[in-house]
């Protein structure tokens, strides 16, 4: 099960009938404290339904003056009297509910994954071919999509750099246009100059890694020069890190050359299947 499929606790600050209003600064402090700990907050002044996943829990916070109000909700509810509580105590109550219900601790995963700008994407599948971690998949209609968000390697934007259309965004990246900022003429010129990753690195990334590894092995067997082989590999990885802003941890955890080759072949087959399917189903284009 993906960590994204686990239950969450959501909070509601209720200030409608039956609950006294909070001071503005108290409301703000409680909200900020809950958000910092990863709890969503709905500021509510009536009893409209609050949407949540059936597996989630709602913690309704208020300065209740009598019995808690009746809410229409399809998820489990708990009411928490917060009269006299500071923001730390409110967060603690939310965390206790989270612990008691087996809810996932918010923030355990930095939400780092690619977001496709379908207004730019041409469905070329280069991202699917490139990614070694099965982040991408193809929909039933033959459209590229992000399938396994939490397989993505935190802080690694490499696939966005192989996209010829600047269509892959990482909203938490530092710089545009990968962070979602507008794509400028300069960005497009850079893409055109880049042509493809082969030109950038003197061979596609898989073959580059394979070749370097093979050379290193060969050198090791012939010369027994493990230091030189290691230096060669480090140079290769540093070049990748510099050119593509790939974290060293990701490069250091790459699969073996054999596994990379197998992955590349599998990806190529998936791309072929998808593109063949698309060419025979016009609605998928």
């Amino acid at each position: 099960m993906s960590r994204l499929d686990t239950a969450q606790v959501r909070t509601v600050i209720y200030e409608g009938p039956g609950s006294l209003p909070l001071e503005a600064n108290v409301r703000s402090q409680i909200m900020a404290a809950l958000l910092e700990k990863g709890f969503a907050v709905t500021s509510l002044r009536d009893r409209r339904p609050v949407t949540a996943l059936p597996r989630d829990f709602l913690l309704v916070l208020g300065r209740f003056v009598s019995e808690p109000p009746q809410f229409h909700s399809e998820v489990a509810l708990r009411f928490q009297q917060i009269e006299g509580m500071d923001s730390g105590a409110v967060v603690k109550a939310a965390e206790e509910l989270q612990a008691n219900t087996g809810g996932v601790k918010a923030g355990a995963w930095k939400p780092w994954f690619p977001v496709i700008d379908y207004t730019r994407c041409t469905n070329c599948m280069q991202c699917l071919s490139f990614c070694l971690f099965d982040v991408y998949g193809v929909s039933a209609g033959g459209k590229i999509q992000v399938r396994n968000h939490d397989n993505c390697k935190t802080d690694c934007p490499a696939c966005s750099r192989v996209c010829p259309e600047v269509a892959i965004m990482f909203p938490k990246y530092r710089h545009g246009p990968i962070n979602g900022d507008q794509v400028s003429e300069d960005d497009m010129r850079r893409e055109a100059m880049k042509v493809d990753i082969s030109a950038l690195l003197g061979g596609d990334i898989y073959s580059l890694l394979r070749d370097r590894s093979a050379k290193a092995k060969s050198r090791f067997s012939k010369e027994r020069d493990d230091e030189r082989a290691l230096k060669e590999r480090q140079n290769c990885l540093l070049k990748l890190q510099k050119e593509m802003d790939i974290p060293m941890e990701v490069l250091a955890s790459l699969p073996s050359p054999e596994a990379i080759r197998a992955k590349a072949e599998q990806a190529a087959a998936r791309v072929r299947d998808a593109l063949t399917s698309n060419s025979s189903t016009p609605e998928a284009s």
Binding site: L4, D5, Q8, A24, N25, R27, S28, M31, A32, L35, E36, K37, G38, F39, A40, V41, T42, S43, L44, R45, T51, A52, L53, A106, G107, W109, K110, P111, W112, F113, V115, I116, D117, Y118, Q145, V146, H149, D150, M169, P171, K172, Y173, R174, G176, P177, N179, G180, D181, Q182
Partner: protein, 109 residues
């Protein structure tokens, strides 16, 4: 029949330091002090990855969002299967000052 009220959504981008802290704190404080109803979420990216059904609810009518780059925000909603309406107003806390974002969020109809 009157138009549905505009929903207000604030994203705290809690799990990364890409939105300036002073900007998001100021926007949240202004919203909280205004007395309007609104939704505050720790992180829209995480909601998108979880395919959170509230994204469909938020995208179902007029909405104003304080988050980050509009292209990214629209992509996040689309990835969750709930594209934002074209009329959605997305305010960028990474690039705009807090006062401008808060004023736009709280603009009267």
């Amino acid at each position: 029949m009157s138009a549905p009220p505009v929903r207000i959504l604030y994203c705290h981008c809690a799990f990364a330091r890409v939105v300036p802290t002073d900007v998001k704190s100021s926007v949240l404080a202004t919203l909280a002090a205004s007395g309007v109803e609104f939704e505050a979420v720790p992180d829209l990216c995480e909601m998108s990855a979880r395919q959170d059904p509230r994204m469909a609810e938020l995208a179902s009518g007029p909405v104003r969002l304080a988050a980050c780059y509009p292209r990214a925000v629209r992509g996040l909603f689309e990835a969750a299967g709930s594209p934002l309406p074209g009329s959605a107003q997305i305010l960028n806390m990474r690039a705009e000052p807090a006062e401008k974002v808060a004023a736009a969020l709280l603009t009267e109809e």
